[in-house]
């Protein structure tokens, strides 16, 4: 078990009104899983993703990463854990527009404190692997949506994380390119990577082996 959420709840206060975004949710993630978290917008799946991605801490319940309780850890420690264990892929790609593809992939390694030669080498390898070996020095605006998402995947993989967390990775892509990205994630899973896919799209969710359906902050089926 690499990640466990035990009875987590998350409550927000919006203009004095209590909103229960997650209500007593438990999730287990095993190594090699290809898990889809599915639900309509407003269901609480984004909140769940934030907890899994160590971007947020629950109001109640516990989160264990490799058996370690990370619920009460400081922001600095969480930053380091994210750097080490979580690879993010976002709907908006979230590449820094002023940096080249290569430099974007290097970012997580900078925060790890790796030397620039090593960073270049690894980032190049990763971009080769996602099929962008020829576009190392292109800026994001010189790349197509599918290519940008592949840069983002390369970035998420570069530190060999425990979990790749993909939040609507095909949401901004046309059907054909979306398919390519999903196939790529599939391939990564076959190679042993643990992938968590967050989506509202049932077609996308079908690609996964396991599914967690979430509605109104509760797990309705898994």
């Amino acid at each position: 078990m690499i990640l466990q959420l035990k009875h987590v709840s998350k409550t927000y206060f919006l203009e004095g009104v209590e909103i229960k975004a997650l209500d007593d949710v438990s999730v287990d993630v095993k190594e090699g899983d290809f898990l889809a978290i599915v639900g309509p917008s407003g269901s609480g799946k984004s909140t769940l993703m934030h907890l899994i991605g160590l971007l947020d801490t629950p109001t109640s319940g516990e989160v264990f990463l490799e058996g370690k309780d990370v619920t009460k850890m400081s922001e600095t420690t969480l930053s380091k854990l994210r750097n080490e264990h979580i690879g993010f892929v976002f709907q908006q790609f979230n590449l820094l527009p002023r940096l080249s593809a290569l430099e974007n992939v290097e970012l997580p390694m900078i925060y790890r404190g790796m030397k620039s030669e090593e960073r270049h080498k690894k980032a190049k390898e990763m971009l080769d692997m996602v099929g962008l070996g020829e576009r190392l020095n292109n800026r994001p605006n010189q790349l197509s949506g599918g290519q940008q998402q592949r840069v983002a995947i390369a970035r998420s993989l570069v530190l060999n994380p425990l979990i790749i967390l993909a939040d609507e990775p095909t949401g901004n892509l046309d059907t054909k390119t979306g398919k390519e990205i999903l196939e790529f994630l599939h391939k990564l899973n076959k190679e042993g990577h643990t992938i968590i896919l967050v989506t509202h799209d049932s077609y996308v969710a079908e690609q996964a082996n396991r599914h967690i359906h979430i509605r109104d902050g509760k797990v309705v089926s898994s």
Partner: protein
């Protein structure tokens, strides 16, 4: 990384720097002006002679001059014989010039000017270091016989005569006709040589019906013996006068007083300039706050990828410091350069302390005004930052 994002907004970065550039530049320029002026005045005063002791009537405290206090000036009690006594009775003194002062009207044809008439003895050129531009000095016998000869200050000569040659012309001083025998050389600020005139002291005392000498100028043989000479003068004068009747002033005292006034001036100029530096710092803070808000998404992403709050904070702090130190360096070069160019026209002096102060202050400003925006960036919640559009 920090530098890259500054490059991405070149115009904005430059405009932000401009505040610091102007601040540092004005600190350096204004203090250069102040110091230059100070050096210039000190040099001019030294021209008059560092081995001169001036005996003024009454009690005055030069140290309190800077604070605006100047004690009583009693009516002068010196007589011509005092000058003679000092000259003959002290081994340290080379010569003494007694002076009488009066205000008068000077007329030449239809030109008219008010001026200070200085009555001096014939040896004044030797004591007071007053070179002539043209003509000649009056002699001892001119003085003894009370001849009506006059030496004009350069400004006075220009006012009365214009381009005309003044030597041997007749001017009228309070209804008496005087012959111009010389014109003093223009020496800048050294005690107003330009706008007064010199006549023999006997002539002056006669003309204005004076029987007292206003002040005594004693030239000391060796400038290392100023203290001994001062003591001698005191001793000799106390034979006839009391402590309260006279004050001894040396160039050193005068320089001290002038310097302390100019120090205050330089500081005030620097202070005004420092305010503009502060304004520059606030400009940096403003732009950094805008930059943090603009880059909310970037900050969120960096945090998601593993940037700790400290790393984010340092990145933004570096940006602020680069802006302020960059501005500081440009301002330093500009200020120094302009000060050097200005040197061709007016005295300026770029001092090391003003340069290092301006530079370190600009660095500190970057840090101080960068901290707030940087902390704002560091504290940003990664989720909200990622969601921000």
């Amino acid at each position: 990384m920090a530098i890259r994002s500054l490059q991405a907004n070149k115009v904005r970065s430059f405009l932000t720097m401009l505040g610091v550039i102007i601040g540092v530049m004005s600190v350096i320029l204004l203090t250069a002006l102040g110091s230059g002026l100070q050096g210039y005045i000190v040099k001019q005063l030294e021209n008059v002679g560092s081995n001169l002791i001036i005996v003024y009537p009454g009690k005055l405290d030069l140290k309190s001059l800077g604070q605006g206090g100047m004690a009583s000036i009693t009516s002068p009690k010196f007589v011509l014989k005092d000058a003679n006594d000092l000259e003959t009775q002290s081994q340290y003194i080379e010569a003494v010039v007694p002076s009488a002062v009066a205000q008068g009207v000077l007329k030449y044809q239809d030109q008219k000017t008010y001026t200070e008439l200085l009555g001096l003895t014939a040896n004044f050129s030797q004591v007071m270091n007053s070179p002539l531009a043209s003509g000649e000095y009056f002699t001892e016998s001119d003085d003894r016989s009370g001849r009506k000869v006059i030496i004009l200050g350069s400004e006075i000569a220009k006012n009365l005569f214009g381009t005309e040659e003044p030597i041997d012309k007749k001017v009228v001083v309070n209804e008496s006709r005087f012959t111009v025998i010389g014109v003093l050389k223009n020496r800048g600020v050294s005690g107003g040589q330009e706008d007064h005139v010199v006549i023999p002291i006997t002539t002056e005392m006669h003309l204005f019906n004076q029987n007292k000498v206003f002040a005594l100028y004693a030239k000391v043989i060796n400038s290392n013996e100023m203290d001994a000479a001062s003591a001698d003068i005191k001793r000799i004068l106390l034979g006839r006068l009391t402590e309260d009747d006279f004050t001894l002033l040396t160039m050193k005292d005068l320089l001290g007083a002038v310097s302390s006034i100019l120090d205050v001036l330089t500081l005030a100029l620097g202070g005004i300039a420092a305010i503009s530096l502060l304004v520059g710092g606030i400009g940096i803070m403003n732009i950094m706050l805008v930059s943090v808000t603009e880059r909310t998404q970037e900050i969120g992403l960096r945090k998601a990828l593993g940037a700790t709050p400290n790393v984010i904070m340092i990145q933004f702090l570096i940006e602020a410091v680069v802006l302020s130190v960059g501005g500081g360096m440009i301002g330093m070069l500009l200020g120094g350069g302009i000060a050097l160019i200005m040197r061709l026209f007016i005295p300026t002096e770029v001092t090391l302390w003003s340069v290092s102060l301006a530079f370190s202050v600009s660095a500190i400003i970057g840090i101080v005004f960068g901290v707030m925006p940087a902390r704002k960036a560091a504290k940003m919640n990664p989720i909200e930052a990622l969601r921000y559009e």
